[in-house]
Symmetry: C2
Subunit: 228 residues, 2 copies
DNA sequence: CCCGGACAGATAGTAGTCCTAACGGTTGCT
DNA sequence: AGCAACCGTTAGGACTACTATCTGTCCGGG
């Protein structure tokens, strides 16, 4: 579809410029990290831990939480203790007396409720994209993150594409082609989730099959787009 | 185009899930930051400064560099001194004796040459997207970053869309609709740059006009997509 | 001419982040 | 019973980056 052009020779690969753009956004997220957290009296990483704790369901173990946030267990231990001292998290003994179960306290849940809008400066910027561009962007991000997960660069995510309830392209409707067996309803790319509380890891063969179906289909935005 | 569905009521807004995905990628970039930099004997932030120094052209001032990387001047001062001590950057007196001009040393340029492939783990993940998806993704990122810049959340970027040489949709060819007056050649969305050495800030009225043309056109991927 | 305000950058001092190494208590296998 | 594996914690050190403060330079006014 794209004809050769002078710029094809002049430019670095598209994928590299994309990573440069993603890095730029990562930079902004880092420098603006205190915006939402500080007014609530927590640090950005503490806020991050609270979010993970909510998304991961109740009774998370310490090591789980650490893996989810990509930090070492000692780091997470200190972080969690700070949150416990602030009364935002409670620690309970697990069945195994070595392990612990971490839960949000009511105060922690309420804090998350209040500050759930961060990072809305970025959400506003994303809002300049039209409906279709957002859907395409979300689908692309899902694909990239899933690949990072397979490569071991990031911990398993609670995403639709690895969920046992996910049935890609189960319906002919191009607008709502997928099916979620948990709520038993069709959905589209725009509904794809990255952190679903109802997520349940599918067995690897099912994951692979679903992934193949999901990626091999032409994107919903372009029914007959160039396979050649 | 998208019909109402159960999931429209169940899900948080698409823009919020997108920011969640972007945050996830930012997390990976942060945890993997030492991968490319450490083997070269520099820290990630030092590598970042070197990159900015190359992209920004020769003879950058300290404050400029600090703004580009979203850190305070003192922070950048310390960082630059470390790079000077390592012989990767040279400091020269500016015309104004208060200011300094920072340049990459040959050793610094050579180091960048060697480690320019970071973060290629992310570039590889982006590589699972097909050509068209990458083009769409790049265009969306450009739009988001440009918006962040207008909002003041990030320093001015050397992007095509703010460049005096940029002529959006100057050609009828849907594959190469834009024109770069600097190299005097047509180019497409897939050639859009985020850090062009030849960038020259266009005057605000021209920027606004170009931005309007650039965003109001239907994305190249969908000639007749929903204006309603 | 020189004096003060504005500016550019450098230097403390402090706080947050996060790692590796080493340590106690539990569990389960032999 | 003994020992290895496991879970979480504590200790120490490195990196990042902020605010406040300081030194030197430029420029305009008296």
């Amino acid at each position: 579809m794209n004809r050769p052009a002078i710029f094809d020779a002049l430019s670095e690969p598209v994928s590299r410029r994309i990573t440069s753009g993603l890095s730029r956004i990562a930079l902004v997220l880092r420098t603006q990290a205190w915006r939402g957290a500080e007014p609530e009296g927590v640090t950005p990483t503490q806020a991050q831990a609270l979010t993970a704790l909510r998304e991961g369901g109740e009774g998370m173990r310490l090591a789980e939480l650490a893996a989810q946030l990509g930090v070492s267990a000692p780091t997470m231990s200190v972080r969690v203790n700070a949150l416990i001292a602030k009364g935002l998290v409670v620690r309970e003994a697990g069945v195994d007396k070595r392990s612990i179960r971490l839960r949000l306290s009511p105060a922690g849940a309420e804090l998350l409720e209040r500050s759930a809008r961060w990072p809305d400066f970025l959400a506003r910027a994303v809002g300049v994209l039209d409906e279709r561009e957002q859907e395409d962007l979300l689908r692309s991000l899902v694909k990239v993150i899933r690949t990072l997960q397979v490569e071991g660069d990031v911990a398993p995510q609670r995403m639709c594409v690895t969920c046992s309830h996910f049935r890609p392209f189960a319906h002919p409707d191009a607008s709502l082609p997928h099916h979620c067996a948990y709520v038993d309803a069709p959905f589209g790319d725009r509904h794809l989730r990255l952190a679903c509380p109802e997520h349940e890891d599918a067995p690897p063969p099912q994951q692979r099959a679903a992934w193949e179906r999901f990626t091999e289909q032409a994107p919903g935005s372009a029914p007959g787009s160039a396979p050649a």
